[in-house]
Symmetry: D2
Subunit: 424 residues, 4 copies
């Protein structure tokens, strides 16, 4: 009998979103709910991930600020202590006799953006809008975490499952920073089959995508342009203008030629710099990302963007330092798992359409875990669970249609049972 209400957990997490590597309260709340599940083991923070492999970790001041906030919000101090320094996430283990090890990966972080307070935005209307203000669950990871807990409970209580289930509650997906740290942890090594999941992706409620494809390889870059300040009225020629370098960088980065081998992407998502209207800007920082259908295409974009940034700096007699941040490879779902997920989904109540495969068009660091399992000889698939979402992913009005959560739990728990049974 299900004692956990995954919808209430989802709303609880939605109220307290935390961005990448700052999922202190989030991890504590997940751990709290897992108390009610008959687990065989639970690894938290540094025990769940390979700390060295974390990518895109914020600076200490930022980590501390969110850590303090979580403490002030009343998160369990015993859990919090383990997470200090940005070692978030958890791995829950259910052992039910002989059989293969099946992994389920869900991600748990929020985005650094404000949430809509419009009356027709359900979380606002029903009182579970973000309370942390500067973060929002605008990509459904609150639902993912709830699905993860729900699947753990379902398998723990299942009479049909023989084998081991590991649920990976992964931090920092939004900055593609956490996938590698879970892929490099010891917990992945004996995983024979891995499922990962995502809600939405423009598929409506009632649809399940058995195998999501077309993960774009992705890389993050941070560039700092440094010039020379000067009084903009008295001596404009004495400056070397980092903001002019930025202007040239923006205009030309987006203009990198499209590639005939497949889709590519480039985005400059954050800019900040300069000190005052009357000072020629000495320093400007930008945060960018590039993607490609293949790793080669991603490298084409990355090389081109670096050339653009260097030329933009030269153009205005500035320097630029470019730091390559997080990145993720591409991956493919295995046919065998896709077939199992599809056949199970067709039996799930509320699921009225099963799509064999569909493209993601974006990137995901679940690919790190998928590749790890596949390279160890295992199989992997990425399962989409449709949801009607009023606003697009990452926007202020994104929301999850909550029946989706049950569809996800039923499909994934069913598939995990079937995978263990078949052990293909």
């Amino acid at each position: 009998m299900t004692t956990i209400d995954p919808v209430s957990l989802r709303r609880e997490l939605h109220r307290h979103p935390e961005p990448a590597w700052r999922e202190f309260e989030t991890t504590a709340r997940i751990v709290d709910r897992l108390q009610d599940v008959d687990l065989d083991a639970l690894y938290v923070g540094p025990d769940a991930i390979d700390g060295e492999s974390r990518l895109a970790v914020p600076d200490d001041a930022e980590l501390d600020r969110w850590f303090d906030r979580a403490r002030d919000a009343g998160a369990d101090p015993d859990v919090l202590d383990q997470l200090e320094g940005g070692y978030t996430g958890a791995v829950a283990v259910v052992e039910r006799g002989d059989g293969p090890t099946v992994g389920l990966r869900v991600d748990v972080d929020g985005l650094p953006r404000e949430e809509s307070d419009a009356d027709d935005h359900l979380p606002a209307a029903e009182g579970f809008r973000s309370e942390t203000g500067e973060s929002m669950h605008a990509c459904g990871h609150d639902a993912h975490a709830a699905i993860g807990v729900g699947v753990a409970e379902a398998i723990a209580e299942s009479d049909d499952f023989r084998g081991t289930l590991k649920v990976f509650f992964q931090p920092a997906e939004e900055v593609i920073g956490g996938g590698k740290s879970m892929a490099k942890s010891e917990h992945i090594r004996d995983v024979d089959y891995l499922l990962a999941t995502h809600v939405g992706l423009d598929h409506p409620t009632g649809t399940v995508v058995a195998g999501v494809e077309d993960f774009l390889a992705v890389r993050h870059l941070e560039a700092t342009f440094t010039g020379e300040p000067a009084h903009a009225g008295a001596e404009p020629e004495a400056g070397r203008n980092a903001i002019q370098a930025l202007g040239a960088a923006i205009q030309n980065a987006y203009a990198i030629p499209r590639h005939s081998d497949g889709p590519t992407r480039v985005n400059i998502g954050v800019v900040e710099g300069g000190t005052a209207a009357n000072i020629v800007a000495e320093e400007v920082r930008l945060v960018a990302e590039v993607r490609g259908q293949t790793t080669d295409l991603m490298h084409y974009m990355s090389d081109s963007v670096e050339r653009v940034f260097h030329s933009a700096a030269d153009m205005h007699d500035c320097e630029v330092e470019i730091e390559v941040g997080a990145e993720a490879p591409s991956a493919e779902s295995d046919d065998e798992l896709r077939e199992i997920v599809g056949s199970v989904a067709e039996t799930v109540e509320g699921v009225d359409r099963v799509v064999d495969e569909a493209g993601l068009g974006g990137s995901e660091d679940a690919t790190f875990l998928m590749k790890e399992v596949q390279e160890n000889g295992g199989l992997a698939a990425y399962v989409g669970v449709g949801t009607d979402h009023p606003g697009g992913h990452h926007t202020a009005t994104f929301d999850v249609d909550e029946p989706t959560i049950e569809h996800g739990i039923d499909t994934l728990a069913g598939a995990i049972e079937e995978i263990a049974t078949r052990n293909v």
Copy 2:
């Protein structure tokens, strides 16, 4: 007999710089030193300025943050209470019998920038580097304030002065925000002669410029570009990219045609926007300024910049809101005062060169006070006091060569006595 050491006051202020409208501790320290001067009146904060005429006032949170910092630093609570809400500055009055009213205007605010901690930067080497961290006296207003106090004391103790002296300790010059509020206060109305002063301006120690000219008219603008966020990997076309609008705005603003009627300037000094590498930026803010030798030229630049910003927004299907901020007119020094200042300066110990007139090339809101006095039938001049400064104005290594301070006090006090005597 001089009881005040202006150099020590300058260093004290240098250690505690505060930016525009946040000169809480600064005002308190100046008031404290003025206790030792035989003043006839001292007006502080709202009594010194016309509050309604303040320009470019920061938001309350920012004001409060600096107010709290000043309180924590131990600034006199009685003074502080008068300044709350960003009503900073002071006017000191010395009355010495019948005679004209002579004004001296000095500005007291710091810049929002970090200070060098290099060993060869004297304030760092000698322990009076900025302690507020995010602000720095990088334009010598610390020396101006010290000169103002020094002149007040010199005139208060002078046997030769007949008339009234008013020293205006003006806030918020760096954002051209404070000049108007002092020009519109009641204290300016009866001023017959006004001197304003600035150290440095690329003139070496030992030089005095009797009349500084060529103040560029100036205007500040703040623009906010608003687009539409979208997932940069999955749906780049769904966004309307405010950072791309910014790129077009930067590139084209600096490219506004030069004007044959005289010098013009444009600078975009601050940019910030976007939320994450993988989100098409929804909002970007920039802070800009334009200048012109005349008000017409400044308007030419302002109109052109507005057209550029609107077109840049249209270009990327974004909106832009432009807010016109502070501005200042141009002004000229009167020959009669310039002549007096020049003749006095030639007698000052340490002054080895007197320049009749020289251009500023920048802007200054002292022009508001100068114009006010001139329109009331009075005379005004802007006096430059040379100083060897290692780094340029507004840079991290700017510093004042301290003998300059005595040159300034002696030249200005001497000129004020002579002006009152001649009453031209």
Copy 3:
């Protein structure tokens, strides 16, 4: 018995390339060679195409210049007279009893570019480099024309063919200007099956692609920016600078966001404007094209480019006039024809690899003819004939590996016989 040497015809045409709608000498030479073929009808110029449907026709002066050149070069005056005014191209008809009508479309125009004179460029080394200088067969249409004549002869002499063959020698493909005029001619109406063909496309000699796919929809645009001239030294502000508008247009056109629905393209291929170094440019013209995997994607690019051009004009206070030129839809090869072509190709001597389908990645106005036939209930396929080409398509060192020509004739003639026999 073959009396025509298609390789010699190809070299002859290669020596006398003519760009779009100026294929006067080209058409005359093709007609001349067709004298040796047992045709039942031959339509030339205005009788071959629908003159009203010609797109992207150059101005009269340009047409006259090439017409005179062809006359001077000794082209047959009787043929020339029919072509005057830019009505080029021909349709050759072979009737061999009852059976379906099969069409073969080949294009015949050169590109407006110089040809390499390097020693290792075969046409230079062997003396058949372009003699018209400003035009070059840099995309293999010389080989296409030779294949067209060769197929006409092969079918005319075939014992196995029952039905009608129409070979469409289409002008002006490079400007996507001629396809519509042939698709709208009366000759297409009774065509039951249509094959079109292209050599190269990065497939090596010996490869045949049975069905080429992924024709990008395409549109050409010409924009003229108009400003106001001024003396750049004396009064730069008095100008409205069309070259600055061009700069903004270029930078932002290439930066139109990539689209998640599929490939898009944009290119500004020609710019020209301004009069002298010291005059602010009054007028600049550019020639651009946009493409998309679908017509919708092409329209997305076209709309975006128009917005960019208008904003770029506004940015610099200029006007812009945009003229939409030629365009072509996308199309798909029918499975039935693809299957026939593939099976025939496998039997052709020298063909060692048959690819079922492959993407083009570019655009082609053969799609006009394919769509016309398909909409009339017929079938169409676009056949690629591999050739080792040293330089890329459209570059100065492009060349056709000549055995390709025989592969093309054998494959297409064989397929045409088989199509007529099966009459699927």
Copy 4:
């Protein structure tokens, strides 16, 4: 008695404008009119200039084209023969006994632009609009030549003049290409006093400017960007796009920071490149100029523009070759001559206002001759003769108000007499 009608000569030259180094017909017509003047010597073409010092000479084909046009138009073949190869211009000498040598320099070339055919454009209305079509006297050099002939005649017939007059009819001023060749000719060496002249410059009819100042130093640059062509649809990434490099070059060249030392200028006046809409452009050429109030400022702009062009090429993986073309220094009018010109002008009929000095704001290669004379110990001045001109200099509707011509002749002839008399 004046036998020459300078207004009719001006109109004759206006009808037959020729651009720099192509003044074949122009020189022939001037020589023809000088037949009626009692000259002592007349040097033409290579005898008038130093051929080696010509700057910015067009290529042979262009020279030949205009040479043939002049011959076809019936220009005197004997004169023409001397000018072949672009050796245009003339020096007329009048010797009238002992006395100093006074030079007068006038320029004679047209601009490469079309002329308005509007009804309210006087040359169109009265039938002396440009007949060469692609060139126009849009800067008044037709009037300058007429003034030169008129002054030669006036001095030749003067009873008061003792000394030698040399009138320099200089070619190629508009490309700052002819001044150096006249300054380096033998004729300048013994010139004791030099006057140069220009009509208009925004001064109305009736005004004479005794000494024009503020000649901007100037330099011309030609840049050729070279990339790699590619099919823009099939392989956009294979190209290296010279038009994208151009876009970056334009945007950033105009954005070079203004300089506090004085006026600067930059203009990109001509662009051309690319071959077709569907080819990534391999080559683009631009023609630019930079100016500065001083040679140092001009070099600041030139260095900055070169950096921008190189960075723009790098940005898009292209190469750039920059050729520095013509240039001219700055110069100043001598007080003594200015005083004489001013006092004479006040006596001239029709002159109602004499301005002692005024800025030019542009550039002029008369500075080469002025500097040469000044460096030889002589004096020089540049005289402005006001004229009401409906359109601005260099625009399609520029025109000279013809009474100006008589004002110019009277002022300059009078000043030349007075200079020779005083021999200061």
